[in-house]
């Protein structure tokens, strides 16, 4: 096995470990952060199924973003759609057998790649030219966009201009998945592509990309509007009823 392969096999496993452990840690942090106040943003659902519907609309349609800013929504949504197709189609490399719906999905892969790249570039441009967006932009926003543009760009080049032998790519990925590393194809664009992808995986848990898991923990979106029916007592704040009543009374007097 070549030095290049050994390096990338270790790099791959480190990146995947970082991603999984980091992601779980961040989720644990979100879950254990107290949400002491009942603050669903109204109009809010008054029962659990409504919250589920609201969450689904949030995750699949980015409803709040749509209400807030149509331009950012358009480019962000288009980018995420492209990313979804791109992610799914890469699963062909990791399974012995490709289901027919996955093969069918490859019909749109060029369009998916282009809207992904286009959306990212427009989001980058918005950060530069819109004053209010530019004011709140920090360095990591640019770094993430550049990283994603690099991944989408090299992916498209790899597919349409500087092709690599996909059979040996698949052997390499299957080797990683079955913990029996295989030789990797030494094509420049493939190396750049996976270098950036693994870099993204390592950076993911530390970055704003955690909005993917964090959205489920948004108190204004995941709470039921039943403050008048049911008293909210967070577990860590639970105290004997008498003390609570007493403290309520002092608050009212003050």
């Amino acid at each position: 096995m070549s030095g290049l392969t050994i390096f990338f096999v270790i790099y791959a496993y480190v990146a995947i470990l970082f991603f999984i452990a980091g992601f779980l840690y961040r989720i644990w942090k979100y879950a254990s952060t107290p949400a002491p106040l009942k603050i669903p943003q109204t109009p809010a659902p008054v029962a659990a199924p409504g919250v589920a519907r609201r969450m689904v609309a949030e995750v699949t349609l980015f409803k709040s973003l749509f209400n807030g800013n149509k331009i950012i929504w358009l480019f962000g949504y288009v980018f995420h759609l492209g990313l979804l197709v791109a992610l799914l189609k890469h699963y062909r490399f990791a399974f012995d057998y490709s289901p027919s719906w996955l093969v069918y999905l490859t019909t749109f892969e060029l369009y998916a790649g282009l809207i992904m790249l286009g959306g990212l570039m427009m989001l980058f441009l918005l950060r530069l030219v819109v004053d209010r967006t530019n004011f709140i932009t920090v360095m990591t926003d640019y770094i993430l966009l550049v990283l994603l543009i690099g991944i989408a760009g090299t992916g498209l080049l790899l597919k349409h201009f500087y092709r690599t032998d996909v059979t040996s790519v698949k052997e390499f990925v299957l080797g990683l998945v079955s913990f029996n590393p295989q030789e990797m194809p030494a094509d420049a664009f493939f190396i750049i592509h996976i270098t950036l992808v693994f870099l993204l995986l390592i950076y993911f848990p530390f970055s704003k990309l955690m909005h993917s898991g964090g959205i489920f923990f948004s108190p204004t979106r995941n709470q039921v509007d039943n403050a008048r029916d049911k008293r909210l007592v967070t577990p860590w704040a639970a105290a004997p009823e008498s003390i609570q009543i007493a403290s309520n009374m002092t608050q009212e007097e003050g």
Binding site: I20, V51, M55, F95, D96, D165, V166, S168, E171, G175
Partner: protein, 131 residues
């Protein structure tokens, strides 16, 4: 909150599915399956030559076929070297094209079976339309 955990568990399972499937089918530590097209097709890439070198053909054969298609169909300009009939003088569809395309989950768009124009059998040049 419980729903958030369920969603996250599903997300984690989808992400880890290649590893899970690999473990469940007992592939851990095995050499991954490879398409057997070289031995099946009776082609030895070290000895037999294709129209271009092996590395180029593996990654870029579709470009040659597509460019040739455009030349023939749109400009009535046939190049004997790159015509698809010539592929079948060495390679068989079932054992060569299909084997590898199935493995990679890619549709060979040349053929009837996957929405193209050509049949999978060896083609008789005399039956093709005049340009």
């Amino acid at each position: 909150m419980t729903r958030a955990y369920v969603a996250l568990i599903i997300f984690a399972l989808v992400l880890a599915s290649p590893f899970i499937v690999s473990a469940a089918s007992g592939d851990i530590g095995d050499t991954p399956l490879k398409p057997d097209f070289e031995t099946n097709g009776g082609i030895d890439p070290d000895v037999d030559e294709c129209v271009r070198d092996v590395d180029f053909m593996r990654s870029d054969h579709m470009v040659l076929l597509k460019e040739e298609r455009v030349k023939v169909v749109r400009h009535a300009d046939r190049n004997e070297k790159y015509e698809i009939e010539r592929c079948f003088s060495c390679h068989e569809y079932e054992k060569f094209c299909k084997e590898c395309h199935d493995y990679n989950g890619v549709k060979p768009t040349c053929f009837n079976e996957t929405g193209g124009c050509h049949t999978n059998e060896k083609l008789d040049k005399s039956e093709r339309p005049e340009l």
